[in-house]
């Protein structure tokens, strides 16, 4: 028995030593590499966070990180696809990309991802990779092909000086819109936040919730979505500009909210409102809430394409972003406010302090108040829903 224990301990230690040696080799390979990191660039706070950690990557690991700011990550995916179809398996233009959902599902399906890497990252030990929201992305298994970077959950934003009792269900929202015409809207699908709003409506209206967790079946579409369309048809009549125009994005919607034109905004970042109060874009009286049945939540990830030119540098960069230091700073509303993917119970006491000392701000709901998020429908449902939305409402503006 003692012999077995010794053998097991020695074996485990050996594996760790081999992994450490492997990681040192990765770090050595990464020295001097330039990593092109494709990520959404529409927020100055996120851009500044990435820029700051890019400087740290250069100082600590001699890895230069170029933040390629994109409006839509699909442009980057197209470049990777083009490279694949012309048989270019190296020297790709994308090294790391910020991704989730249907884009990941499509890249995985088309073989555009590299080999699994997440378990090899030293920082991943502090992450519970078996957590269902991390092990699957929109119900598609991640299989170690993308590393979790942050968590998201839909929250609604209101100003308590203007609205004392926010509507905490889709039915209540419809009533509110009827009583306050033009004061509510949602971002236009296929914008990510607009589609998320549709998913929330779907969860709160459909009776076939279990079908949403399975891949899309055309024969089920009508039955699953018809209550959602009936709801939206009623809601649109009372929306801002009578539903003839929608904000381009959640950012534009938040501008309208900050201007006092809308009563309710939405965000996929529970700390977003606090962050905006801190930097002066929202009034101090702004707060967040979720619906009584919960709201849709997910995880966003970092992936390395199959043809990444600087794979070693990409691994070092992702590992750095998953360290407790980087994750705690990211979760700070005065920096970005994006919730961490780290399982704090796996951290040492010093690292735990980093998270416990965070002041999440006046508008952030506690994890207990947010509850367990509703899961995303399977990735294959997204395109048919967005397409049906377009077919139903496009061209009805005049």
């Amino acid at each position: 028995m003692i012999f077995r224990l010794i053998v097991t301990t020695v074996l485990l230690a050996s594996v760790q030593l081999v992994q450490a040696a492997d990681w040192q080799a990765v770090e050595a390979d990464a020295k001097g590499q330039t990593v092109y990191f494709y990520a959404w660039g529409g927020s100055s706070t996120i851009n500044q966070y990435i820029e700051r950690w890019a400087q740290i990557a250069e100082e600590r690991h001699d890895v230069k990180v170029e933040h390629v700011k994109v409006d839509d990550i699909s442009v980057a995916i197209q470049g990777i696809q083009t490279a694949k179809r012309v048989g270019r398996s190296d020297q790709g233009s994308v090294d790391v990309m910020w991704i989730n959902g249907e884009n990941f599902a499509r890249m995985k399906r088309d073989g555009l991802m590299g080999t699994p890497f997440v378990a090899d990252l030293p920082s991943s030990k502090a992450i519970n990779l078996d957590d269902p929201t991390i092990a699957a992305d929109f119900s598609v298994p991640t299989d170690g092909l993308e590393a979790p970077w942050g968590r998201a959950q839909l929250v609604f934003i209101y100003d308590q000086s203007r609205l004392s009792q926010p509507p905490k269900s889709m039915d209540a929202l419809l009533n509110y819109a009827k009583n306050n015409p033009g004061r509510v809207t949602y971002p236009e699908p296929p914008n990510f936040h607009g589609t998320t709003f549709l998913k929330q409506v779907l969860w709160e209206t459909t009776e076939q919730q279990d079908w949403l967790q399975k891949p899309y079946v055309e024969a089920r579409f009508e039955q699953v979505t018809s209550p959602m369309w009936a709801y939206l048809d009623s809601l649109h009549l009372h929306l801002w500009r009578k539903g003839r125009e929608f904000p381009d994005s959640a950012e534009v919607m938040m501008d309208l909210f900050a201007d006092g034109i809308l009563d309710i905004a939405l965000s996929f970042n529970p700390n977003d409102a606090s962050q905006r109060i801190l930097d002066g874009r929202f009034a101090p009286s702004v707060r967040t809430y979720i619906h009584e049945m919960g709201t849709v939540g997910n995880t966003h990830f970092l992936a390395i394409p199959f043809n990444a030119d600087a794979r070693a540098g990409a691994l070092v960069w992702i590992n750095l972003l998953l360290t407790p230091e980087a994750q705690a700073e990211k979760a700070d509303p005065s920096v970005w406010g994006d919730p961490t993917v780290i399982d704090e119970s796996r951290l040492g006491s010093e690292d735990q302090k980093l998270f416990r000392s965070l002041n999440l701000g006046p508008a952030t709901l506690s994890a207990a108040d947010r509850g367990v998020p509703l899961s995303e429908p399977h990735a294959t449902w997204v395109e048919p829903i967005e397409r049906a939305w377009k077919e139903r409402y496009f061209g009805k503006a005049r």
Partner: protein, 547 residues
């Protein structure tokens, strides 16, 4: 005798080469459209395209926006052209308008006139309208916001083309005839001069129509969104990760190109037919144009003020009279440093290459006895940016290259070069051929002739053409994003990323986009003012010869 704006004779090897460059992108598109990458037939691609919701509506809306903005731009150009013949031409004002990128102006208008915008707040107070609502534009279903933005820029472009053409016409004889017929000066312009000018400037008119129909930047910022204009719809298809969608997008672009070819034929025929002015009261329309012009100037300044204000505004509720302003907002400026230097470098490289190429090509054309520019140069401006950039990218891959900085410079040069050729060609073709003969007889080699005589002689024009090429480069988005693979970050790509992001960052980026080409034009005008001031022979336009 009237002279054609462009030459229609046989094609020399340079022009054949540039025709080839024009055709190559289309072949690249054909490859995609035929289904090489999707693995399905073109009929399935067409079926996919046809199944796109409200695509025809997008097309009709785009034709409406392009046509209305063109008609209004022509209307204003006609009025200003008539005035210019009587009073001094305001080249400075026109240069400013030409230098500003379409998208920077569009973002300014968006921040001025959308709900909560600076202008909308003022309008609401003046007309006692509810502050928290928005009635018409931008992003309105009829594309009015976009039409306003296009008209401001395109009327300046058409005026810049119309004035030199008008001045080349035998104005004195027209005026004599007009006086004999009892027409006023304005009537003479509108009924005798302008129809002739229109006939000569149809390539430029077609450029305006094509840009209005297919542009991406202004459509994304100000265009309607339910549905979007056809350029945006096709761009979304063409950049979709799904190969079938991309095939549908390529087919859509090819269909649009065929459509544009047909429209170009109709344009050509209709303007060559005898143009008759049907306006019964020319003066009333001229006053209308003046009002319209001032309204557009007001909109322009409003957009500039909006950019400035939102750059430093943290928040501003419609119920508060003044914004919460903080200079902390300007900390985002440091994130624009890198795109600024990239824009500057690409702009300088594009300008230098375009000028060198244009001088060499023009010298060659002059030596071959060519008198006017071939339509090929205009055709570069007729080809929508999207198929051209997509097709070029396909060829860059085919030759083993990758998207990056140099493909972007190539893409920018291919657009800037025709502009430079159009601006410079008249002066080059109009020079006294006897001077060439004297220099040849003196045994001066061609290189020295260009460097010692012709370049200094045309230096003022070259400086302005360089500023124009620089401004064109600063304003290009589609070429930069596709040929740079997203890696090349210019102020323009930053602007397009921030349009749907933070308003403060978008305003700041818009302002930076506006300033860079403006500085280039200001420098060009300043250099021209200072240079050769002590040399009568270098005053341009044959000043010394005339004396």
């Amino acid at each position: 005798m009237e002279r054609a704006l462009f030459w229609e004779g046989s094609v020399n090897w340079i022009e054949r080469f540039f025709v080839l460059i024009l055709i190559l992108p289309v072949i690249g598109l054909l490859d995609e459209a035929y289904g090489r990458y999707s693995g399905v037939s073109w009929i399935q691609g067409l079926t996919r395209l046809w199944s796109e919701p409200a695509l025809i509506e997008s097309l009709i809306l785009s034709v409406w926006v392009a046509s209305v903005s063109l008609v209004i731009s022509l209307f204003i150009a006609r009025a200003i052209s008539a005035k210019t013949l009587q009073v001094n031409d305001s080249q400075l004002w026109r240069s400013v308008l030409l230098a500003i990128p379409h998208s920077a102006l569009a973002i300014g208008l968006l921040l001025a006139l959308s709900a909560g915008g600076v202008g909308w707040r003022w309008i609401s107070v003046i007309f006692e309208l509810p502050l928290d609502q928005q009635y018409l534009f931008p992003r309105d279903p009829w594309g009015i916001g976009m039409i306003v933005s296009l008209v401001i820029k395109e009327s300046a472009f058409l005026i810049a083309i119309a004035i030199p053409i008008t001045k080349r016409l035998p104005l004195r004889s027209y005026q004599v005839i007009a006086r004999q017929a009892g027409l006023t000066q304005i009537q003479c312009h509108h009924q005798l001069i302008w129809p002739q000018a229109i006939r000569l400037m149809w390539p430029a008119i077609f450029v305006v129509f094509v840009f209005g129909l297919t542009n991406l930047e202004v459509s994304l910022i100000l265009g309607p969104d339910q549905p979007q204009l056809i350029g945006v719809r096709l761009f979304q298809l063409l950049t979709d990760p799904d190969a079938l969608n991309r095939q549908a997008g390529a087919l859509g672009l090819l269909i649009m190109l065929v459509g544009l070819a047909v429209v170009s034929g109709v344009f050509h025929r209709s303007v060559r037919a005898r143009v008759k002015d049907r306006l019964s009261d020319a003066m009333a329309f001229t006053h209308g144009a003046t009002v319209l012009r001032w309204a557009l100037i007001a909109a322009f300044w409003l957009s500039i003020v909006s950019l400035l204000m939102w750059s430093v505004t943290m928040r501003w509720s419609v119920f508060e009279p003044l914004p919460h302003v903080s200079l902390n907002a300007l900390t985002s400026l440091k994130t624009l440093a890198s795109p600024f230097w990239v824009s500057l470098s690409i702009g300088l490289a594009t300008g230098v290459i375009a000028i060198v190429l244009a001088v060499c090509i023009l010298e060659y054309l002059v030596s071959k006895g060519q008198k006017r520019l071939h339509w090929v140069w205009w055709a570069f401006l007729w080809l929508p940016a999207l198929p051209m950039a997509s097709g070029l990218l396909a060829w860059i891959y085919f030759f083993g290259g990758s998207p990056g900085l140099w493909p972007v410079v190539l893409g920018h040069t291919l657009i800037a070069l025709p502009y430079v050729m159009i601006v410079m060609s008249d002066s080059w073709f109009d020079r006294d051929r006897r001077h060439d003969m004297f220099l040849k007889q003196a045994g001066l080699p061609v290189g020295r002739r260009i460097l010692l005589i012709w370049v200094p002689r045309h230096s003022r024009l070259l400086v302005l053409a360089f500023a124009l090429a620089f401004a064109v480069s600063c304003a290009l988005y589609t070429q930069t994003i596709l040929l740079g693979g997203g890696r090349v970050e210019t102020l323009m790509t930053e602007l397009m990323v921030t349009v749907s992001g933070e308003r403060r960052l978008a305003a700041l980026t818009g302002l930076a986009n506006l300033l860079l080409p403006l500085i280039a034009f200001a420098l060009a005008l300043w250099v021209n003012r200072l240079s050769w001031s002590h040399r009568a022979g270098m005053q341009g336009e044959g000043y010394a010869d005339f004396r």
